[in-house]
Subunit: 203 residues, 3 copies
């Protein structure tokens, strides 16, 4: 588990682990692009230069996945072993750096990509927990933390106040938890890909 | 070590690992209840709603154990594999939510549960380090970080100032370190359970 | 990988792992001394007492290595299994506590030891990534995070503002990334020790 396989399949657990791995990879890459773009937009607002924007984008992008991997014992994290992940993160940050200053509806765009990253990582974290045979609370916990992790790290590093626990943002953590719960409930009842799309859409 | 056993026993190390596992579980569950209650009380003071209080309670509750597990290489953390842990955390948070607003001696109650969680996780962290054959400094380090970890995470997320390093609270980290040291010194001289009670009592 | 060997060598990867381990140990111990001294100086400025200074020094000292070990899956971290590391950290903190108040050029001294720790951990993190067969981006990422990690943790705990992402400090993260890149490029072309010294010198 430590090195060779991304998702461990406990004996007697019949999850089609190849499908899950492929789905996780696609979810991850889209989520990484979205979160990196959101981190880059925060950096643009703070008037960082290109290097600062790329650093903030990359750290935001891998934050949620790092939390998921740490909690599921998947080390080293996949983004260190497969260079595609960090290239996608850099791409997202460069796109944010190039287009950020010209955006008219800045906050709305930031919010869209933040929510997209949140949804994708909540689902991917929940799938990681499912693959390890966690129960419902464990799956929800891993999914919610994976979803909100990147955004919290971004806000702490950019010295914006992380807003996860405050009233008007409780919807934020709630959305992540709800997405993970949907993954848990749908799992095994409908094809995996469909359940993931439903869960991400609901979030 | 990675998956099947909670506490790894290095070859030639004669710790009765079954007893340690059972003791760790009891210490953990009581510590989780106490820390979750303390997190819930902080959330009540911040006027979070029920969902926010439960989230803050749960994160506080598993913080110390997560640090212990990360440092001892016990992943995934036990609270994700055994649903009892998160149910106990939710219970503690709900109790805090229900009774917090009616408490007269609020700060004193918060302090009692915070100290109880600290003591229990310091001992449990020290036992985890002992079971892996760490030396005295390693045992003290793991114990102290496990003890103070949950409270620091709670304070950062609730935007209270974490107080571990400041003068009048140095007693706090000192207490955690002292408890871990007592576990180290007593280990092998008296029965394990007795030494744990002595250490927790001293803290 | 989890327990017996500090640096795992993937099959078919011809890195002379014994040399790397010995080099990593020397780099680590010097870096730990330097970072612990830098943490102690921050504690002295905040007028912590001896215990607080030692705690802040130790946490700063092991921060970068902990991040490297977490990202490379080397748990428990080596400093918990080899007591030398924590003794060196305590020594660095005591030296900082003894001489800090008498320093005339305080900020400059702090900066020298901070940069030394940064350089050494960036190189050591990059070597850890190389030994696991990461590609260039992975090596740079691990190196940069290992280099800046201890300082960020120190600043957060001492409630100084972490400055890694801000304009005049982008040089800081850039230096760490550059050092890691140099390790990657030189690796296999010149003897390992020479490349490490070059990389640390450039940083």
């Amino acid at each position: 588990m430590c090195d060779t396989a991304f998702v461990a399949t406990p004996p007697g657990f019949d999850l089609p682990s190849l499908d899950v791995q492929a789905s996780l990879r696609v979810l991850d890459l889209v989520g990484i692009f979205a979160f990196s773009l959101s981190g880059a937009l925060v950096g643009v607002r703070k008037r960082f230069d290109l290097f600062g924007v790329v650093v903030l984008g990359c750290v935001t992008a891998v934050g949620g996945g790092s939390i998921r991997d740490a909690l599921t014992g998947t080390v080293p994290p996949v983004y260190l072993r497969d260079e595609t992940y960090l290239w996608v993160a850099i791409l997202g940050a460069v796109v944010g750096f190039a287009f950020g200053p010209r955006l008219e509806r800045f906050d709305r765009t930031l919010s869209v990509f933040d929510t997209l990253g949140l949804a994708l990582f909540a689902v991917s974290g929940a799938l990681g927990g499912l693959a390890l045979g966690f129960g419902p609370l464990g799956v929800i916990f891993v999914g919610a933390l994976s979803g909100v992790g990147g955004g919290v790290i971004r806000d702490v590093l950019a010295r914006e106040t992380p807003q996860i626990l405050y009233r008007h943002d409780q919807l934020y953590a709630t959305a992540a938890a709800a997405g993970a719960l949907v993954v848990y409930l749908l799992h095994g009842r409908v094809p995996d890909l469909a359940s993931q799309l439903v869960a991400a859409g609901i979030v």
